[in-house]
């Protein structure tokens, strides 16, 4: 039967192993409870790395060593001691134990610190607009999807992808992948000042430009004519 004032142990899985949190209470009782818990859950815990959170309780080096022994007798590794007292952390370090979980809210010495909220700039995209206008170079790996027209003032680099339900106009060098009329509109067009995409698509048609295009930097437009994609010079 468990009394109200008995210390409590909780075990939780974390990314690096298991976190065992020990409540308030006299050390001897806690140790006893810890032994019982580990014994009882032996099969479940076997082989785990344990982070032990002891809260405000001050623990001496020999007590930590005792706990370490207890763990290793049950094939567990005590790897981190999370303590709110400096002395306990120092004792843990002397036993070559970690005192902090990576990515935690504490500073490197283990003290809880005030978090400064970092303002994360949110990219504003006007989803409702019929035409998406971007005044920047679209770098490799970036993917733009828009149901209307897309106008880019800048380059579209190899590895970038533009998918538009409408037309795609690139006021710059088109070197990436572009798909106009992606929702089925065969009248969609693709225009660029320097037309060298890795691949272009209009509605269901796909075309690959021939290799010698690099030496022809005049503005060009691609459109479907008589069932296939034709690229013509502008003006």
């Amino acid at each position: 039967m468990i009394t109200q004032t008995a210390p409590v142990i909780s075990i939780k899985g974390i990314r690096e192993g298991l976190l065992i949190t020990v409540d308030e209470g006299p050390y001897d009782e806690v140790f006893h409870l810890l032994s019982a818990e580990i014994e009882q859950k032996r099969d479940f815990l076997r082989g785990s790395r344990i982070a032990l959170a002891v809260g405000k309780r001050p623990l001496h080096r020999h007590q930590l060593a005792e706990i370490q022994d207890l763990f290793s007798r049950h094939a567990l590794t005590l790897w981190t001691v999370l303590a709110e007292t400096v002395d306990t952390r120092t004792a843990a370090r002397q036993l070559n134990l970690a005192t902090r979980l990576p990515g935690s809210q504490t500073d490197l010495d283990g003290n809880v610190r005030q978090l400064v909220e970092r303002e994360v700039a949110v990219e504003e995209t006007t989803v409702q607009a019929n035409t998406l206008l971007l005044q920047e170079t679209i770098r490799s790996g970036r993917s733009i999807y828009h149901e209307g027209h897309v106008v880019i003032i800048g380059d579209v680099n190899p590895g970038a992808e533009i998918t538009a339900g409408g037309n795609v106009i690139v006021w710059g060098r088109l070197r990436g992948l572009v798909h106009a009329g992606a929702l089925g509109d065969e009248t969609a067009v693709i225009c660029a000042l320097h037309f060298v995409p890795t691949q272009l698509r209009i509605a269901d048609q796909i075309a690959i430009p021939p290799d010698d295009r690099r030496h022809n930097p005049i503005p060009e437009q691609a459109a479907i004519q008589e069932g296939q994609i034709i690229v013509e010079g502008w003006g």
């Binding site: 979980l101 990576p102 990515g103 990219e123 790996g141 190899p158």
Partner: protein, 267 residues
């Protein structure tokens, strides 16, 4: 004193990040600055080997982040150059062992004592890269004059810009002017055409680099300053420090230099 955090990254592996990090740190230290180099490539550490300090590792970056030691204890002092330190990576863990917020904490503490903190980023775009750019003030992107390297550099620049840490400055590493002349290698213009960021260094291919990394003595430290790569590294260090240094005359042949000069003059 508030130190500056410089991250050396690339996207592509094997383009020269670690070599450049080691040589940059060494060159800055020889200019009288207090410098620490941090190897952020956890699990595949190399910076310690290239700097010849692997035998002196007791604690590493993960030990610091996990509170197993004080920050100072993990800083290995290079005995060859005053005020040059290394914080090595852990070899037995992987990049998930630390978080971006941990890197910010480490660098905030280092800023108080040092002039420059050089972070050698791992290759890739995942956690290791994010760890390396989290605390950064200035990103240096290293690329080779080679299509896949440039493609990866473009991706990285995009990611850096998206994190509001961009756009970064470019170092073109391992360029062979004779091959560029023959049209067998991408030219500086070809690369800048796509990447469109400021250039901070052009480093020629140099056999002495392999010798120096194997020996564990960065070329800017070994006194082999006559080699062009070494000179190029020193120039990058000087530019980082605010000096206006003209780019090296890599080849006697006029046509390459003419093109370079024309580009530099904005034509």
């Amino acid at each position: 004193m508030s130190g500056k955090v410089i991250t050396v990254t690339s996207g592509k592996g094997g383009v020269g990040k670690t070599t450049i990090s080691a040589n940059l740190a060494s060159a800055l230290a020889q200019m009288g600055k207090k410098v620490v180099a941090i190897d952020a490539d956890i699990g595949l550490r190399n910076l310690d080997v290239v700097m010849g300090l692997e035998n002196r590792i007791v604690y590493d970056l993960v030990d610091v982040v996990e509170g197993r030691c004080r920050l100072r204890q993990a800083m290995i002092k290079d005995k060859r150059v005053p005020e040059l330190y290394l914080i090595p990576a852990a070899q037995t863990r992987d990049k998930t062992a630390i978080s971006p917020s941990d890197m910010v904490l480490v660098c905030d503490q280092l800023r108080e004592e040092l002039d420059y903190i050089i972070i050698d980023s791992p290759a890739g775009i995942e956690r290791g890269f994010r760890n390396a750019i989290a605390p950064t003030d200035q990103v240096l992107i290293v690329t080779n004059p080679e299509v896949s390297a440039v493609r990866d550099a473009d991706r990285i620049i995009g990611l850096i810009e998206a994190e509001q840490k961009g756009p970064g400055k470019l170092i073109i590493n391992r360029i062979k002017p004779s091959m560029v002349e023959r049209g067998e290698m991408l030219s500086i213009n070809d690369i800048l055409d796509i990447l469109a960021i400021d250039l901070i260094g052009i480093v020629p291919e140099d056999e002495n680099i392999l010798v120096s990394t194997n020996r564990g003595t960065p070329i800017t430290m070994s006194g082999a300053n006559g080699t062009s790569a070494s000179q190029a590294f020193c120039n990058v260090a000087r530019r980082i420090n605010g000096e206006d240094v003209p780019f090296l005359d890599l080849m006697a042949k006029n046509s390459f230099m003419d093109r370079l000069r024309r580009w530099l003059n904005g034509n």
